[in-house]
Amino acid sequence: MNQLHSFQAVPSTRNAFDAYSTLPEPPRPQSTHAPRAHTQQPIVTGTSVLGIKYEGGVMLAADNLASYGSLARFKDIQRLHPLGDNTCLAVAGDMSDFQYMTKLLDATLRADRSVSLTDTHPPFSPQNIYTYLSNLYYARRSKVNPLWNAILVGGWDKEKKESFLAYVDLLGTTYSAPTLATGIGAHIAQPLLREAYEAKAGVDGKGPLLTGQEAEELLDTCMKVLFYRDARSLNKYQIATISNDGVKISDSKSSETEWGFAEGLRGYGPQTQ
């Protein structure tokens, strides 16, 4: 018996069922022709993003981190993307899908601009861009090849003279509210945003909205809380302000944090008692 033959004779344990596997799925049978696989998980990711309507516009917030799993891999990534004069995206989830999507939208807007001399129509409203995005994301999930993002679209509709804020995600799910947050932010920041929003505007939202300064301070607070509680966040973030004057994206900023309390934590880590 030659060596090659004896090697093949060893039974493979590769495909055996492992009852104790911690993988989310059982291993698939190995074959020379692997089944065609689409995106099944995001790789480089951004964490939650926030949005709130204020008096005269919308503000969005996103930190500058793109994580590689739990590793804080890229710490200088802008996750706010302006589109045209009065719309801005805040994007969480897979960063390569984010880049692909913005490239596609930028090209679409550029193509529209280049025929605007001869084929005039009003510029795209935030609603137009949001509809395009939600169609794109639902179409991709229907091909079982989703773009792995959760997106907030913030804008100022110049025709209607009103603000716009809506959500779309990798499933093509859509909804709109005066305050929005994605991912873990929907659990931690959204209640804080709603509380402050409703304190002034009322539950029906008919009262006065927060001023620009109040909204920004509220977002600062929420980003700080998220930094304390979200292990995939970074204390370096930007805020986009979308109003009748256009889209303004701030420089990166940080919150003052206090970690003295960590000394008193017990239950895990290196403490002995």
């Binding site: 090209a107 550029r110 193509a111 601009r113 280049s114 025929v115 001399l117 001869t118």
Partner: protein, 257 residues
Amino acid sequence: MSSIGTGYDLSVSTYSPDGRLFQVEYAGKAVEAAGVAIGLRCSDGVVLGVERILHSKLLVKGANRRIQSLDDSIGLASAGLLADGVHLADRGRDEVWNFRETYNAPIPTQILADRLSMYVQAYTAYSSVRPFGVSSLVAGVDKTGPRLFCIEPSGVFYGYRGYAVGKGAVLARTELEKAVGKETEEGGVALTCREGVLEVARIIHLVHDDNKDKEFELEMTWISPESNMKHAVVPADLLAEADAKGKAALEEGMEED
């Protein structure tokens, strides 16, 4: 005209015995019959202007533009068959898209002019098609600065400091030579875009033949610091000023004669 062609002008795939392609030359006639189109490369950008002849009083004001955008910072003005110009601009936008898709960068003006010229040239080499009946001015600003090219029906293209095509182009070119000549003089500088707009408008008015031609609309675009280095229509107030000054200069010239 009777001896023109003599059988060698039926197809663009047949040379005449002295090596000419008559169909391409006839395409040039279509260009000469159209309202003038002028491009002027300035110190800080490029200006395009056309004399858009109004063949009917029923036309909507500002309709049927002859200057189109290809990219954020590239414009194309055509003289000749309007539909050919529109088709060429469409192709230009495809090239712009293709370049960005491949290299993730805006297309340099010269490369766009080169690609478009090869497209035009292909229409001079097959018997099943007719050559483009347009000369096109491609104006753009890229990292090499302001550039201006003219693509002719034969498919050749040259870069220019200033150029004119269409009816009265010869006179317009001598006027452009004067304007551009100042740049090459000792201590001379090129015109700015603002000055360029006035100059181009003046030349269009000068070249326009009030007696023979129908009325026209002045159509102007630029890529200048004032348009944020994007290809955009010249602001209405500046266009009105250029139009008025062009007319005034013409009347002044007539009094001198």
